[in-house]
Amino acid sequence: MSEDRFQREDPLRTDPIRNFSTTLRSDGWSGATGPTDPSDWMNQEGSAAAGGSTAGASGGSTGGPSFSQFGLHGIRLGNAVLRDQMQRGQEFAEQLAAGLGAPSADLRQLLERMLRSYSGMYIDTTLLWMDLLFQLRIPTVTPPDPAAGVGPLPFPLSPGADLRRVVERMLRAYSGMYIDSLLLWMDLLFPKQQPDNSSLKKEATASVAVFSSRPTLCTLSLNPGAETQPLEACQLWSRDTTKPPLMDVSFQTGSDGKRFLRVRVPDDQPADLYLGVVCNRTTGEPLGNLAIEIRQP
């Protein structure tokens, strides 16, 4: 009966976002600026510049948008968001320290919940934008132009890949980094007020093996239920994007059959805090966070 009958797609959401996260939305939300709409974006010469991100992309002045245009814009936006959000995380934690005293465990949890809600909205919005682009029939999938000077994708991308899923993972990783950045900075600034990590330890089901010539602090946080799923650790990034990512991170199975996280820190890896996410290897669903702090010897 359903053949040829008009049917709507299920909406991404039906309810308004009423929580505080809308405070984080700023310029361009009316559509007056910013290429958040595919047709608006297509109509811009030098589309990335129109969105206020770094310049250098070629505009889609003829034909439809190519993936390289879209991809470049997305990556630039993502990198900008990453830098900005990690910076914000640190700044906010420092403001808390300066003005309103150490946060309680409740406040920490509250912040985390609110921020995850915000990141969900951001991801949903971007995916909607992507879906709209797909409806415009993006013809081919080509890698971004490395000459444009943007950072590499944090995930492998090949033609034919499920682009939507990859972008979703990328976004979740970026959002997770902001949240983790904020929470870790709070923990660093308020060591005495740090929430009881026993809960995190209880949730984590993987042992961690760190190979490093320098003092290294590793924090693995896995969501409940992650222990039964195939896990994949993505490369870890510093908030300073000039530093190379920490690549050699993987889940492995030991001789006793138990899974563990293996981290190898190269000797020339700059000291810093590196953040990343743990995903389901098959579905790409984020299942936890990973933070590695490499200190000076």
């Binding site: 009966m1 359903s2 040829d4 009958r5 008009f6 049917q7 709507r8 797609e9 299920d10 909406p11 959401r13 039906t14 309810d15 308004p16 976002i17 009423r18 929580n19 505080f20 809308t22 405070t23 984080l24 939305r25 700023s26 310029d27 361009g28 939300w29 009316s30 559509g31 007056a32 600026t33 958040t36 709409d37 047709s39 906010f92 403001q95 808390l96 300066a98 003005g99 309103l100 005293g101 946060p103 309680s104 409740d106 406040l107 509250l110 912040l111 609110m114 921020l115 809600s117 919005t125 909607l128 709209l132 409806q135």
Partner: protein, 722 residues
């Protein structure tokens, strides 16, 4: 279905929400992808916003319609509509949206004094930057912390005005000037104030308020922190106690100071309640207190009895929105969450002017331009089509996994055009307008329909000349249901019977009947004894008509002979109590007439002392009799028959209420339970849970988004709102 196949949309209803959906779906950007047909009973569009031209082209409205300065979506649509309409100013004096709407900032509240008399408090709201419908390019103004900051700022301004009024030129010490305090210093300052009784003095109150304002400002720029709420709540309590004592001592018998104190108390209560209930951080926003009645919630948070009974609360939250359950004046009920959301948006986010009045009837200014633009875009209008039933497909025939859907739409054909298409608009000195009555001469057998008194907008009048069934795939692909909530049980019987969500919706989302009358007077408002400014809109007055608007600006729009022109026009409206039994429209209309006559005889002299004869009775001769022909104008109360009045009792005419606890029962236009049926109307879950033009337009835009993905949700201003 192919991406390129045109999608046929049947829009059922012609009110604000339905017309907005049509407008959005037929924007040129869609390149004709949506083929829209509007089915509407009777001869005109507008729903609750319909108006018509009667004798002497006088404007006859469904009720009083005034647009708020925060109606961002509604103004956006109208601005786009007028821009596309491109009227020639030389040919039509209402050519642009600025011709159509003008600022009206004089607001009045009526309240009864201790001596039992009525007095009016008139406020003129300042013009705010920008115009409604301008792009919002700055930071999102819609945050609870932002509202609290504005509340603190207003509180400070009010108290400064009290100080100035109580002791002109006598500064209360030297309060610390606002300074860019660090959060650390701010907290220390607040702690000092609270601990050491610093708030016992007026200077301390000001210092505390400035600190509060600064803290909210800081809060509005940072993600909120629950840790600060305890201190803030403590501060607000202390401020409230001190300010209350001080103001009550100062106010004495000064009514102006008492009014200011009422607002100050209300603001302190809102701030205190917002902190206590954690509204800044609650992911439900103001919906977290949807279960409370507004006055109940204010009382819970320490509002004084005088504030709860004040005109400010009564008029602002109840009278203007007809918020009386079943129309029962002893049952004022409105959701605290929506009342607060609406009040904060109304006072703190308006642009240009607080109110905007229309330069002609709402039908002329809103629905005629929409009709013209939509016609140009190719939208078809099937007038005289009364919706009878929205029929679902038999569940037994659904494929596995297939959602239920609308299989057919059953319509009664009330009349047929004699020659081609019915032309619904009339020309009033160059302005396309809707008539108050259908043009029977355009209808088949129109003379008979007219002589038999067919009422083509009455729910009770079921007469028809034929019937029509629209079938899915043959006549439509998707239905947008845009009738009023009161009509849903009648036209969606199957769905309501089958779907528990719909049953819950029609039970919880209630509506009220309303009444209105309009007077054309042979005296201007000054001669009537009104001492306030002309053009005022006043609420909080005595029932059965608590709201009055001076609409004399409409006189030039009507076609009165120069020598027999009225001097003023007055609109009155209120909720109409629902009788226990009997809904005969004629009887209800007679009830409204009697209410109006009684109101004029007994109450209106409190507003218009000049309208009372020496014996205190209403001077009926002040009513402009219109064109009585060769007959002498009626005298006494009979003269009221020459005026206009209406009982809005048809199911689709009922005003949508926002009863406590009902928000969760609303269904969103984005809901996809029936994948070819989209709901739209101010009764849907459209973000703004209120019976008003803006909610309807938001809902219409959401309905379009549900189909076309445009406008983007981010463009529907105020949808993502706490």
């Amino acid at each position: 279905m192919s991406q390129q196949t045109p999608i046929r949309i049947a829009i059922l209803g012609g009110g604000c929400a339905a017309m907005t959906a049509a407008f959005e779906l037929t924007r040129p950007e869609h390149q004709g992808r949506y083929h829209v047909t509007v089915y509407q009973q009777g001869w005109r569009l507008g729903g609750k916003g319909a108006s018509g031209r009667g004798p002497a082209d006088r404007i006859e409205e469904h009720g009083l319609h005034i647009w708020m300065g925060f109606y961002e979506n509604a103004f956006r649509v109208m601005r786009d509509c007028y821009a596309e309409l491109g009227r020639d100013p030389a040919a039509c004096h209402i050519a642009t949206w600025r011709d159509a709407f003008f600022p009206a900032s004089e607001i009045g509240l009526a309240e009864r004094t201790d001596e039992g008399r009525w007095s009016s408090w008139i406020s003129s709201f300042p013009a705010m930057p920008g115009l409604p419908g301008d792009p919002l390019t700055s930071e999102n103004p819609f945050t609870v912390s932002g509202y609290l900051w504005r509340s603190a700022r207003l509180l400070l301004t009010l108290l400064e005005s009290v100080r100035e009024r109580a002791a002109p030129g006598n500064a209360p010490g030297e309060p610390a000037p606002p300074s860019p305090l660090s959060p650390e210093a701010l907290v220390a300052q607040l702690g000092r104030l609270v601990r050491y009784g610093g708030l016992a003095t007026l200077a301390g109150i000001f210092e505390g308020l400035r600190a509060l304002q600064t803290l909210f400002e800081l809060w509005s720029r940072l993600p909120p922190q629950r840790g600060g709420e305890g201190l803030l709540a403590h501060l607000v309590d202390a401020l409230g106690r001190s300010a209350s004592r001080l103001l009550q001592e100062t106010a004495g018998k000064d009514p102006e100071l008492r009014r200011i104190w009422t607002i100050a108390d209300l603001l302190l209560t809102v701030i205190r309640g917002s902190l206590r209930f954690g509204l800044v951080t609650d992911p439900r926003g103001f919906d977290a207190i949807d279960g409370y009645d507004y006055r109940e919630w204010l009382a819970l948070n320490g509002a004084s009895r005088s504030t709860l009974d004040s005109a400010f609360v009564r008029a602002g939250a109840y009278n203007l929105s007809f918020s009386y359950q079943d129309g029962n004046l002893s049952l004022p009920r409105t959701s605290a969450g929506q009342a607060l959301r609406g009040a904060l948006r109304m006072f703190f986010t308006y642009r240009g002017a607080f109110f905007w009045k229309m330069s002609a009837g709402m039908g002329d200014v809103v629905f005629a331009p929409l009709y013209e633009v939509l016609r140009r875009r190719g939208v078809r209008f099937e007038l005289f089509h009364r919706l009878e039933n929205v029929k679902l497909a038999d569940p037994a025939r659904l494929a596995p996994g297939e959602k239920p859907y609308v299989e057919a739409v059953e319509l009664a054909v009330q009349a047929r055009a004699r020659l081609g298409e019915y032309q619904p608009l009339i020309d009033v000195r160059g302005l396309p307008c809707w008539p108050s009555r259908p043009d029977f001469s355009q209808l088949e057998d129109g003379e008979r329909l007219e002589s038999e008194g067919w009422d083509l907008e009455s729910f009770q009048d079921r007469r028809q000349v034929g019937s029509r069934i629209l079938k899915v795939r043959e006549d439509f692909d998707c239905v947008i249901l845009g009738v009023g909530i009161g009509a849903i049980p009648h036209v969606c019987r199957e769905i309501v019977a089958r779907d528990p969500r719909w049953r819950q919706m029609v039970q919880a989302v209630q509506s009220a009947e309303t009444q209105a009358f309009q007077l054309w007077m042979d005296a201007d408002v000054a001669a009537l004894g009104w001492t306030g400014p002309p053009g005022v809109t006043l609420s909080g007055f005595v029932e059965p008509f608590d709201t009055w608007a001076d609409m004399s600006h409409l006189l030039p729009e009507e076609s009165w002979p120069a020598e027999r022109r009225p001097r003023s026009i007055a609109y009155f409206c209120s909720v109409l109590p629902t009788p226990a039994a009997g809904t005969d429209p004629a009887a209800r209309r007679e009830e409204v007439r009697q209410n109006a006559v009684r109101f004029l005889e007994r109450d209106v002299r409190h507003l218009w002392p000049g309208a009372a004869a020496p014996d205190g009775r209403f001077r009926w001769d002040l009513l402009h009799p219109g064109d009585a022909g060769e007959h002498p104008a009626p005298e006494g109360p009979e003269r009221f028959a020459t005026q206009f009045w209406t009982a809005n009792v048809n199911p689709s005419d009922r005003y949508t209420l926002s009863l406590p606890g009902s928000a969760r029962s609303r269904i969103s236009p984005l809901d996809n339970s029936y994948d070819n049926l989209i709901l739209t109307g101010d009764w849907t879950a459209c973000g703004l849970i209120a019976g008003c033009v803006e909610a309807a337009v938001m809902s219409g835009r959401l309905a379009a988004h549900a189909l076309a993905g445009r406008p983007r949700l981010e463009e529907i201003v105020g949808f993502d709102h706490p």
